[in-house]
Symmetry: D2
Subunit: 339 residues, 4 copies
C-alpha cells in the first residue's frame, strides 16, 4: 500500500514537494548489471524541462540529478537507486496568496480537506514538478529495456493541440521524423501555426488542451498479466496518474464503438486492437492516446508567463517515461510466467 509507488517488480517511489529541499525517486527491483547512461538521462530531462521553448512556461528549472545510491562503476548494483534533484527556484513569496485562497483548477482545496496540513507553495507535492522524478526513473527503465530487448522503440507526439489535428498521413509518418524538432511536438508542416497560436495564448494568459499519442514498436508477445494487470489497465493507470489528463484510449478506442463486430474483427491483429488482446500484447504496434484538459495556471491567478499554454508538448516525455517503466516492469514480470 503506497500512494507514491508505481510498478510491481521494477518499482519506483517518488518524493518531494515543489518548493521543499529536493525531489527524488527510489527505484527498486532494477536488476544488477544495467549500464548507466548519463547522456540519456540528461537528454530526457531536457525534453521535459520548463523554459525549453517559446511555447512552454518561462519558469526555469536548472535541474541537476544527483545519484545517491545503487550505481557503482557505471553499472546498477541490484540495490535501490536513489536520484534526487535539489530545488532551486524557491520564490515561495509568490505563493503567499494561495496559502489562504485556493487556485482555480488546482488541487489546493481538495488536498487541504484531505490532509489538514499542506505545503501550499507552488502546489507542494501536487505540483507537476513531481513528473521530473518519473522521467528520471523512466530513463533507468529505458536503459534496462534496451539491454533486455533492444528492439523495443517508443514514439510520442502531439496528435492534437486545441483544434489542430494531425492528418492520418502525418501520423503514419511519425516514425520517420524527429518529433523533438517540433517545438510543440506536433509533427506537421502546419506546426508554425500551432506555435503562433500557443505563443499568443501564453501572452494572453490563455490555455488549451490537446491529445498526445505514443506508439510502441517491436513489443514481445504476451506482456501484461491477466485480470487486473492487463497491459491496457496498467497503461491507463499510468497515464491517468498524470496531472490534467481526462481521457485514455488505445487502438480504435471510442471509435471502435460504432463498428460492426464482423468488420472490427476480420482485420485481426490489425490496428483496431491497438496491439493488445485479452489484456496481453500481441507483438503488433501498440498505439494509445491521452486527452489533456486546458492547463489551469491561467491569467490572474498564475504568475506572469509562468504557465504552459498547453501542457501536451512537455507531457510527451513524461508519458514515454511512464511507458518505459511499465515495459520494464512487465518484461521482468514475464520471467515468472513459466517454469
Amino acid at each position: 500500500m503506497s500512494a507514491n509507488s508505481f510498478g510491481q517488480i521494477f518499482k519506483i517511489t517518488t518524493f518531494g514537494e515543489s518548493h521543499g529541499a529536493a525531489l527524488g525517486v527510489v527505484i527498486e527491483g532494477c536488476p544488477a548489471g544495467v549500464d548507466f547512461n548519463l547522456d540519456l538521462l540528461l537528454k530526457n530531462l531536457a525534453r521535459r524541462k520548463p523554459g525549453q521553448s517559446s511555447v512552454t512556461t518561462s519558469r526555469q528549472e536548472d535541474d541537476i540529478p544527483e545519484i545517491l545510491s545503487g550505481i557503482y562503476e557505471n553499472k546498477t548494483l541490484g540495490t535501490p537507486i536513489c536520484i534526487i534533484v535539489k530545488n532551486q527556484d524557491q520564490k515561495s513569496a509568490d505563493y503567499n496568496q494561495i496559502k489562504t485562497e485556493a487556485r482555480i483548477g488546482h488541487a489546493d482545496d481538495t488536498w487541504k480537506a484531505k490532509f489538514g496540513h499542506v505545503d501550499h507553495r507552488g502546489g507542494g507535492r501536487a505540483s507537476g514538478r513531481e513528473t521530473l522524478c518519473r522521467v528520471i526513473a523512466g530513463s533507468i527503465a529505458q536503459m534496462l529495456c534496451q539491454k533486455l530487448n533492444p528492439n523495443i522503440q517508443l514514439k510520442g507526439y502531439a496528435s492534437q493541440i486545441s483544434d489542430f489535428v494531425l492528418h492520418d498521413e502525418e501520423i503514419k509518418n511519425v516514425w520517420n521524423v524527429d518529433v523533438d524538432q517540433f517545438k510543440t511536438r506536433f509533427p506537421s508542416e502546419r506546426e508554425q501555426r500551432v506555435v503562433e497560436w500557443l505563443e499568443k495564448a501564453k501572452a494572453q494568459g490563455e490555455s488549451y488542451g490537446g491529445v498526445a499519442e505514443v506508439q510502441i514498436k517491436n513489443m514481445p508477445i504476451g506482456l501484461g498479466q491477466p485480470i487486473f494487470h492487463k497491459f491496457k489497465s496498467d497503461l491507463a493507470m499510468a497515464m491517468m496518474s498524470l496531472g490534467a489528463t481526462s481521457a485514455f484510449e488505445f487502438g480504435d478506442g471510442f471509435a471502435s464503438v460504432i463498428q460492426k463486430g464482423t468488420d472490427f474483427h476480420t482485420h485481426m491483429n490489425s490496428e483496431s486492437y491497438g496491439g493488445i488482446r485479452g489484456g496481453l500484447t500481441t507483438g503488433d504496434l501498440i498505439l494509445f492516446r491521452v486527452g489533456f484538459k486546458p492547463t489551469s495556471s491561467i491569467k490572474d491567478t498564475a504568475k506572469k508567463g509562468r504557465h504552459d499554454p498547453c501542457i501536451v508538448p512537455r507531457a510527451i516525455p513524461v508519458m514515454e517515461a511512464m511507458t518505459w517503466l511499465l515495459i520494464a516492469d512487465h518484461l521482468l514480470w514475464s520471467r515468472l510466467d513459466k517454469i
Copy 2:
C-alpha cells in the same frame, strides 16, 4: 505483486477458470461488523447474469454463491471472506476446436504464448465469466460503503449502443429512472429500436460496441491518494481491466481538449472536472465513461446464439461493482490520512 488482486486495503483476489470446478473471490481487509445482505448480492448477480433477456447471450449460468468464510451470524468477521460459485455449464466438448485454433478477437493465442500450458475451454481464466467474482466482491464493498457513508449512490447506464446515443436530457434524467427496467440499460424512449437492433444482431451473429457511463453522487471530498493512486487513475485501471474495453474518460474527457482554459476553469467545480481535481474527489458529481469494442464471439467461431450482441448492458453492473470496490478501498484508506 499479484496479477489477480485489486485494491490496496479492501483487497480482492479472484480465481477460477470458466470451465474448471469453480470461480471465486477472496476479500481481505473488510472490517469486522458489516451487515451481510444476501438479497443485495443475489440482485447484483442477477443483473450481470447471461440469459437475462433477449438482448444477451442465451448461455445459462445458474450461479449460486457459496460463502466459505469470513461471515458469521450475518456479519463480517474481519477475516478473509471467500465466496465461490461452482461451474455448472461445462460442455467443454464445444471448445475442442479452439484447443488447436485461436478464436478471432480472443486471447487464446497471446495467452498460449505467455504460459505455454492453458485451459482452452471457454477461454479458461480469460473468460468474461471471471467478472462474476467482481460482482460478488463489489456487493460486499457496497454493503461496507452503505454502512460507512450511506449517502453515496451509483447510477450506471448505457449512453451509447452502436450509433444510438442518449440525448443530453436523457442523461440528466437518469437519476429519476430505474435503468434496469430497460433491457439494454439504455434509458430512453427510443429503447425499443435498440432492442430490435440487438435482437437482429444476435440472430445474425453480429455484434456492436457501446459506451457505458457511471455517475457517483454524494462522494466525500478528498478521496483518492496523490500521485499514483489518484481517484481517476485507479478508476481508469479498474475499468480498463474489464474485457472489451478500449477507452476511458471522465468529466469532459476528450471533449475538454478543444475548450479554452478560461472557459473550462471559470465554471469551477462544474461538471467539466467530473468531480475529481488534482486526483482527489471534490464532493461534486463524478461522471465517467467507458468505451467497449464490439464483442468478439461472433458468427462461425461463436456457439450459436451464445454470444452477447453488445456487452454494454451486462457490463454495467460489473462497472458498478468495480466502482464500489474502489470507493470502499479509498474510504478505508482515508482513515490513515491524518493523525
Copy 3:
C-alpha cells in the same frame, strides 16, 4: 497489505474459520507448467493430521482437498490455484461455553477486543486448523522446487520434547532415518519413553512444549534478499507465524553468544553460520530451531482427549511446508537479481 498473505512472488492467502463452511488457500505466482502431484499433497496432509497416533489429539479431521482452479490436465496454469477443505467436524455446541468465557492461553479475548465480532467456535480463524492451508500450499511449493532445483531436500524432526533432548549423534544421523517412523518425530532409540510420557500427559490433560528443527540440504548460494527479506528474517517470520511458537534460532543461535569471534569465524562456512551469511544462503547446510510452549488446550477447558499433549510432532510438517513456501518464493525472486 494483507494479514492473511505470505510470500512476495509465490504468494499464498489462506482463509476460513475452523467451524465455518470450509478452509482454503489461494496460491498466486506459481508459474505455469508445474506437474501436480496429488500423492505428495495427500501424504503431507496425512502427516499433519490430528488423530494420526496415540500422542496426538484424538479429534478427527477427514480432510479431502478440493482443487477449484489453477490446475488443468495435471499441470499448473500460471493462474491462481485455489484448494479448499470442507469442514466436517462441526460440533459447535461443544464451544458454547467459550462464547462468553475466554479459554486459558487462547486468543479468544484478544481477538474479541480487536474485532468486536468473532466466531468463537473452536477458535474460529485463530484455530490451529488454519495450518492445513499452509500444508496444502507448501505442497505446491514443494512440487515447484522439485522441478526447479531437485537437489534441495528438507528434514524436520523434534530435537526436544519436554526434557527429552536429542543427542548430538542422533542429530547427525537424521538424514539416515525416516522421521515419520517415530510417532513423536523424535528420532531416537529413547523414543518409546517419550511416547509413554505424552500418552500419560494426554490422559491427564497435561501438556508439554518442545523444540523442532529443520535442516535444508543443497540450497543454492545467494538466496534471500538483502536488508528486510534476508533468508533468516523471512524464515523467522514464517516460523513465528505458527501458533504456540515462542523462540527461533538458526546455526549456533543463542549458543553463539558466548563464543569468541576468533573461534566462531575461523571455521568459516561451518555450521556456526547455519548456512546463512549476510542474510543470504551460502550453499551450506541450513539448520534452524523453533521453540514451542506447552499447548493451551489442557484439562477443564479442553474437550476430553481433544488436545495434543505436545504440538511439536504435528508442527513439523507445517514447518516444512512454510520452508518450502519460502524456498519457492526466493527461487523465483532470484530470477530477478541480474540482468
Copy 4:
C-alpha cells in the same frame, strides 16, 4: 515486492551503500500532522553512532540528517518523508583488498554470487551503516506513536555480553535506570568489568556476542494481525533482519519448552506469554530477546581498531527503532479492524 521495504502502512524503504554518496530512507504512510522533533532524532542517532565510547568502534561518522521532503513548518504533510545522510568517511582505498578477497564472516562472497556486480567498499549495501536509516525512520515512528498513544514506552538493554549475564533483579530494575548511562548498555553494578573486558577485546582484535532485550510497556490490547502478521512474527522478522542476529525469543521463549502446560497457563496473562497471545498483544508487558553472534570484523581482516568488540550496545537503539516502526504500523493498521 520490495527487498528494501519494511512495514505495511507505515512503510519505509532504505537505500544507500556505505561508501556511496549518501544513505537514506523514504517513509510512506505517516499521517499528516505529526509534530517533528529534531532533538529526538539527533539523540537517537547519537545513541547508535560509532565512536561513542571506548567499547565501540573508533570509526567516526559525523552523520547529519538532511530532510528532503514530507515535513513543512515542523509537521508531517502525509507525503513521503525522505531523509538522507551524506557519507563522509569514504577512505575506500582501505577496502581494495576485499575487491578480490572475501572477508571472513561477511557477506562479500554470497552477495557477489547473487548480483555479479557489487560495491565492495566497506560492505557496500551490506554494511551495518544501513541501520542509520532505520534509526531515522524509527524516530519518526516514535514521534507518531507518542502522538497517537503517549503511554507506550520502550526500554532496551544488554542482558548478556559474552558470559556476563544480568541478574533477575537487575532486569526487574531496568525501568528505574537510565540505560544510556552504561557504556555497554548492560545496566549492572558489574558493568565496569564488562567495559574492561570489551576494551581488552577491542585492543586484541577479538569480539564477543551478546543478548539484547527490549521491554514494551502500556501497549494497547489487540495489536498485531492474525495469521501472518502476528505481532510476534513481525517482531521476529524485524529483529532477524539486523546483521549478526542469530536468535529471537519472547516471553519465556526456549525456557517455556520444559514447563508443564498446567503451570505455564495457570499464571495467565503472566510474563510467560511475553505480552502476546494468539499473535495479538494482550496489554501486558512485552519482553523479547535477540541473540547476536560475535562481530565478524576481527583482527587481520579488520582495519585497526575499526570494529565493535561486541555489537550489542550499538544494536539496542536500532532494535528500539525497529520496534517503534512496528508499533506505528500496527497502531495505524488497527484503525481498519472494525467498521
